[in-house]
Assembly symmetry: C2
Homo-oligomer: 342 residues x 2
């Protein structure tokens, strides 16, 4: 009774129906009489039959797969990946599975330009792009993707005139909240570390929130308390060192990412200062590390479950031809020790 690699035809033979009826029954078509359907499904189960995805995909021109393109900006020296992505991955596969989609993983650099290939080769019905970095650099790639009619969602901010759809975090409001929190704790000289250039719109938005909060409190943001740094622990360390050496005093520091914050905290400690007593620190991301550094880092959390849901819902919508809007989710302040609130 066992067939090696059963096909719908094998089931049809055993059930005494046509192959077409088997196909219908297995897809729960109401066209098939319930009794027949049950019998067929029973046989399929016994034979350990599963629909051949290649055949079904060829026929329907779908793969029911989403390609997840993760491009991170590790520069070779700093091989650490953005740990926030791990739970992101988890939640994305779950959100996709809930909708009947598999997830194809790729962690190549975005400098290669075979992303289009995923959809063109019918391996994926749509893409999700995850990564931090200089969005201006990607602009061209995104345009190519869009013009190739690729369905894709970008994890990131809503950027004017950027091709495609995105789902991201309300970074401006996140930055604002972080500073509000520090202000409420009585801090007045709040330094900022992060890249505020147009090339990293997410970080620039967090900076904009920083400026708005300070201005709203009647404090003039000072260039002397602002130091640029890309997302790495080492660069955070160096930036903090620079701020400390510049002589302009500050009693709080908002780092545009946790990784930068952690580097900065090390610099502050190396300078013999205490956290949060002398300098309160707030980060952004809530990567797993954040809860484990000492003191534990207060940070703006990006909920990866919500993010994953937004992205997957987006691509699936695009795949199905439904109208999709770019959207933002709200980050949440997680109060730990580094800000001095506890």
């Amino acid at each position: 009774m066992k067939v090696e690699n059963p096909t719908s035809r094998d089931i049809a033979d055993l059930a005494g129906v046509s192959q077409a009826t088997v196909s219908r029954a297995l897809r729960n078509s109401p066209l098939v009489r319930e009794e027949t359907r049950g019998r067929i499904q029973q046989i399929a189960r016994e034979l350990n039959y599963f629909v051949n995805r290649n055949a079904a995909g060829l026929r329907t021109q779908q793969s029911n797969t989403i390609a997840l393109l993760l491009f991170d900006e590790t520069d070779g020296t700093d091989k650490r990946m953005n740990l926030f992505f791990m739970s992101f991955l988890d939640n994305i596969t779950r959100a996709a599975a809930r909708r009947g989609y598999d997830v194809l993983l790729s962690l190549q650099q975005l400098t290669d330009d075979w992303h289009i290939e995923y959809q063109a080769s019918h391996r994926a019905d749509g893409l999700i792009l995850l990564g931090y970095g200089d969005y201006l650099e990607y602009r061209e790639k995104l345009t190519a993707l869009a013009s190739a009619n690729t369905r894709f969602m970008i994890w990131g901010p809503i950027v004017k005139d950027q091709p495609g759809h995105s789902f991201g975090c309300n970074n401006e409001h996140g930055g604002f909240q972080a500073i509000q929190h520090l202000l409420q704790l009585g801090r007045r000289q709040i330094a900022f570390i992060g890249n505020t250039s147009r090339g990293s719109p997410e970080h620039a938005a967090r900076y904009a929130g920083y400026v708005r909060a300070l201005t709203g409190a009647g404090i003039e943001p000072s260039d002397d308390l602002c130091c640029a740094a890309d997302n790495s622990e080492t660069l955070g360390y160096e930036a903090a060192q620079q701020l400390l050496r510049s002589g302009t005093p500050f009693d709080a520091l908002f780092a545009v990412t946790d990784l930068i914050a952690i580097g900065a905290m090390r610099a502050i400690k190396d300078a013999g200062l205490r956290i949060p007593e002398d300098i309160a620190v707030v980060g952004f991301d809530d990567m797993p590390l954040a809860a484990h550094v000492s003191p534990a880092l207060t940070t703006m959390q990006q909920n990866s479950r919500i993010a994953a849901e937004g992205l997957v819902k987006g691509v699936v919508g695009l795949i199905k031809g439904e109208p999709v809007e770019s959207a933002l989710m709200e980050p949440e302040l997680i109060v730990r020790e580094s800000c001095g609130a506890k």
Copy 2:
């Protein structure tokens, strides 16, 4: 000239050859005259053509895809994933890509039993199973997989009579090296935290290395210095607390994983003791966190690039019907601050 969704037939028409010749040319068959081949490939490039994977897969009965099944034992309370896996994922996709394979990602629980489906549905040609936990519990699943003729590699130890092939870390030798290191630094009362039961053979093997090293140095391993704990920071904390309270003095601690070590370090600090002065600590895994805790954790590193290579090479071998042997790789001692060597 642009065709919406070009097929090999479109190219054939444009090149004035048969569709079969196009197929051959695109696969670089030496059967096709070089001039013809070049012309065809040129046209394919211009049309942005990519072979329809569903059609090719249906014809060849292959998917050129490996499914990566990640099952972790997060108990709901501790949602942190084993961070070691992130770079593992990265290296696995790269190793697979090098061999022309895509990677399908799944992070479902192994308690579901659809893994067989991946191969039966022709979505993947083989599987890689990643996860820590009670291997005895998985035994049944593995047997089912094997009897369904599924090609799979397990990341883990070589277990007697376990179905399938595995690639893992030489945990016994790793444990041995960790203890050797502590002994060389003059520590004599070395505590152990970790699960030594048969259910976690990897951890049990590390314990075996611990015992061998101590015995070799003429030290009788003491049950009073050994405390069981599964892989979590919280459980590591509690286990260390228990050891400290028990009254049996110790000047070093070997934790069977970094996560446990990090929890234990917190307990040691909370007890007012210094690391490494009072108690030296060594972990296992070298997860990204390890370098960032304070003091930085000395640990046995598992090289994820080598691990990924071993696993991918294994499945691909199985897929191609080549003989595959289970194997082990050697972990490497990474000396940081927590052991007191620096």
